[in-house]
């Protein structure tokens, strides 16, 4: 009896036309720069980070330690303090920046004259380098020599030790963030100018006041932009580093001399953010394995936040 052997594909399956193979290869070829970049700069570092998180790693030698680094995280008070601080910034600073940016943009749209000047004035601070801006703020708010303290003192008001008092340090950083709200203002300004004028005219004819117009026309139309600002704001704040580091270093008066160590999060770890603690563990204490644990946690939390916000965002789009 004659038998027929079939390949894995089976006889019944029609042969794939050659053109489709070629098409896939061409597509892969076009995608290859991205694929290589993604693998080298994201895929590999991600896998390596997870791998290192189970090692005692001082940048030179590796020693498997199982879950030791993760157990240390659970008892590392500074890490939890940094999480609380970062969450504080997410919960307080991000909404305030969005509200303030929206408020400033709304004001600028209402201006009859000097619009260009005020747009520039409000936008300029966001162009100032982070370190320079933070240094300027710490100087302005210095309780000993700062002009803010001098003004408050002249009118008989006490001046807090902004970056030296744990209760005032994060509000001080929030003020700094509000000062440089120009980046958000520009986005909101574009969104506000995009709201169809006819909607306001129709609402005005129906007797709606400014507040009702704002809540029932402006906000629904610019909601996607607000959501975008919230998503990017949260992600940026989860990576909040430079301003906290610079403010703490300058306010502490610490020096760079040998024997003088910088106390991160000065004062009393009130400005210690999660990425800052991660940096200290990896590049100051050379506990790179533990730093990788913090990096894994930051990655997971960022992903969860982003997915949550994107889901909300998608819901908004569907509503629209």
């Amino acid at each position: 009896m004659a038998t027929t052997t079939f390949g894995r594909r089976g006889a019944a399956e029609p042969a794939r036309p050659k053109g489709r193979h070629r098409g896939s290869l061409v597509a892969l070829l076009y995608l290859s720069p991205w694929l290589v970049g993604f693998s080298v700069f994201f895929g590999y570092p991600l896998i390596a980070t997870v791998y290192f998180s189970f090692q005692r790693y001082d940048m030179f030698t590796l020693e498997p330690v199982g879950w030791l680094n993760y157990r240390y995280f659970l008892q590392d008070e500074a890490a939890w303090t940094s999480i609380r601080n970062t969450l504080w910034l997410v919960v307080v600073m991000v909404p305030l920046r969005v509200l303030f940016g929206l408020g400033v943009a709304q004001l600028v749209t209402k201006l009859k004259a000097g619009t260009g000047f005020f747009r520039t004035v409000f936008y300029l601070p966001s162009l100032v380098p982070l370190v320079a801006g933070t240094l300027g703020f710490v100087y302005l708010l210095n309780p000993g020599t700062g002009p803010v303290a001098a003004i408050l003192s002249a009118i008989g008001l006490p001046s807090p030790d902004w970056f030296g008092d744990p209760a005032w340090a994060k509000p001080g950083l929030t003020l700094l963030a509000l000062w440089s709200v120009g980046d958000l203002m520009v986005i909101f300004l574009a969104a506000l100018l995009d709201v169809p004028k006819q909607l306001y005219e129709a609402a005005a004819l129906d007797g709606a006041g400014a507040w009702r117009q704002f809540f029932h026309i402006t906000l629904p139309v610019i909601r996607p932009v607000l959501m975008f600002a919230a998503v990017t704001g949260v992600i940026q704040t989860l990576q909040y580093f430079t301003q906290a580091m610079v403010a703490a270093r300058v306010a502490s008066g610490g020096t760079d001399s040998a024997g003088s160590v910088f106390v991160p999060g000065y004062p009393d770890q009130s400005t210690l953010t999660f990425p800052e603690w991660l940096f200290h563990q990896g590049f100051r204490d050379f506990a790179m394995g533990y730093a990788c644990v913090l990096a894994v946690i930051l990655f997971v939390v960022s992903m969860v936040f982003t997915l949550f916000l994107l889901r909300q965002f998608r819901g908004l789009e569907e509503e629209a």
């Binding site: 896998i47 390596a48 290192f52 030698t61 000993g144 306010a251 040998a258 003088s260 506990a287």
Partner: protein, 443 residues
């Protein structure tokens, strides 16, 4: 069963990850050739250092000129303004300089433990370098667990500077209670109670008042021989911190902070001691050179730091640290590099020349006694502190920075009044340090 493709890919990535993370670890230190027939073929070596200021660079170049004269076949190419993390990255990447210099001793344990710097003992034996030329205390910050991976090149010692005019003829204090009394006497306030001139700023946050320096005033111990924290169990720390808090409270924490934050930059001509805003200050020997440049008219004196009233035997000593220099692993020309390290750390002429130019303390006993060493009474104080047997240092520790940072954080909480229970605070310091030790060094 054949592994699936994704399993193979994951395995390959894991192998790649483990290979990458051990980069640079396979190269052990080169075996020293010193002692055998010297190789005098022309060679160019690279050296990284942290000097930046023009006067420092000139002084260093002058010292290197002496080396070139003695070793004409070795050309030294230098790179300035280099920090520790750059050295580590270069060693890790397998492309380090032949010689590297660091201004801080905080990383010595890491350098030695990980092998970032090569063990110099074989070189020292081959070159017959006599370790007794270094004061004993130096061994504590140039080696770790029996491995000497760096050599001392100049030292820093800490003492008390006092402004004779503001002291109104009073002699420098020898004990902490004398320091408190004089600090109060020399302090000037305005009508609102704001500090105009401080006799002494007791805050641990003041420039050089970090616990690493002030601990020497009470003979405080940092760690036990096994590396665990000795801070909570050593009453000396409580003695120091209680004394500091008493004096901070006398000033008023808020008033003192306001005053401290109004002061000029430590490293500029606006330094408050040089400006006459502080009568007494703890500082390093280098301040003499800065005063000579930027505050020529200042009538001042120097003395050892005051010590605990019940430990008069400590008086005369102080805290010592210094610049360190070594040969990173993977250095291309280890033997020539060793000649340079040896020259800069043991040659009396080189050390005296550097000391005279930079006004740092030379780190060998013969250099200290050299007649060519420029001396004046104020600098002599620091030379005496360096040679004093009760002087101490912070022994190399794998978590040196973390330990200092943890104690300093506790000190700030304590002196501000935000942590009222000192016992609990120091117990917490011990726990943090011990937990961190388990994380980084194992049990």
């Amino acid at each position: 069963m054949k592994p699936r493709r994704w399993q193979l890919a994951l395995a390959a990535l894991a192998v790649l990850a483990s290979a990458a993370c051990t980069a640079g670890t396979e190269n052990g230190p080169a075996k020293p050739q010193a002692g055998s027939t010297p190789d005098r073929r022309p060679v160019t070596i690279t050296m990284w250092h942290g000097f930046v200021a023009d006067n420092e660079l000139k002084a260093f170049d002058d010292a290197l000129a002496g080396f070139r004269a003695k070793y004409p076949w070795i050309t030294v190419k230098t790179s300035k303004a280099v920090q520790d993390d750059q050295i580590i990255q270069a060693a890790r990447g397998g492309n380090p300089p032949d010689v590297a210099l660091s201004f801080t001793t905080d990383s010595v344990a890491t350098f030695c433990k990980t092998g970032v710097f090569q063990d110099l003992k074989p070189y020292m034996s081959a070159s017959k370098v006599d370790e007794s030329i270094f004061p004993k205390v130096i061994a504590e910050y140039t080696q770790y667990q029996g491995k000497r991976c760096v050599m001392p090149m100049l030292a820093d010692t800490y003492g008390l500077y006092y402004n004779k005019k503001l002291m109104k003829g009073a002699q420098p204090p020898k004990t902490l209670s004398e320091l408190s009394a004089l600090a109060k006497k020399c302090t000037v306030r305005d009508a609102q109670g704001n500090i105009k001139v401080a006799g002494f700023v007791p805050s641990s946050q003041m420039y050089e008042n970090a616990p690493i320096h002030t601990g020497a005033m009470v003979g405080a111990k940092w760690t036990n021989p096994d590396g665990t924290s000795a801070i909570g169990g050593d009453p000396a720390w409580q003695q120091l911190m209680k004394w500091q808090k008493d004096l901070v409270d006398w000033f008023g924490y808020d008033k003192l902070e306001k005053f401290r934050k109004s002061l000029g930059d430590e490293w500029s001509a606006a330094n408050p001691f040089m400006k006459g805003k502080v009568a007494m200050a703890i500082d390093g020997e280098w301040r003499n050179a800065m005063i000579a440049t930027d505050a020529k008219g200042l009538d001042y004196g120097t003395a050892p730091m005051p010590v605990a009233d019940d430990k008069p035997q400590l008086y005369g000593g102080g805290f010592i640290a210094g610049t360190i220099i070594g040969i990173p692993r993977g250095a291309a020309h280890s033997d020539a590099a060793w000649e340079l390290v040896r020259y800069l750390t043991t040659d009396t002429g080189a050390l005296v020349s550097l000391s005279n130019a930079l006004r740092n303390v030379p780190s060998t006993l013969p250099a200290l006694q050299s007649p060519k060493l420029d001396k004046d009474p104020n600098f002599q104080t620091f030379l005496d502190i360096f040679a004093n047997p009760s002087s101490s240092t912070l022994p190399a520790h794998i978590n040196s920075v973390f330990n200092q940072q943890t104690l300093q954080e506790a000190q700030i909480k304590w002196e501000s009044g935000r942590a009222p229970d000192l016992d609990a605070l120091l117990a917490e310091v011990d726990k943090k340090i011990d937990d961190k030790l388990k994380l980084t060094a194992g049990d």
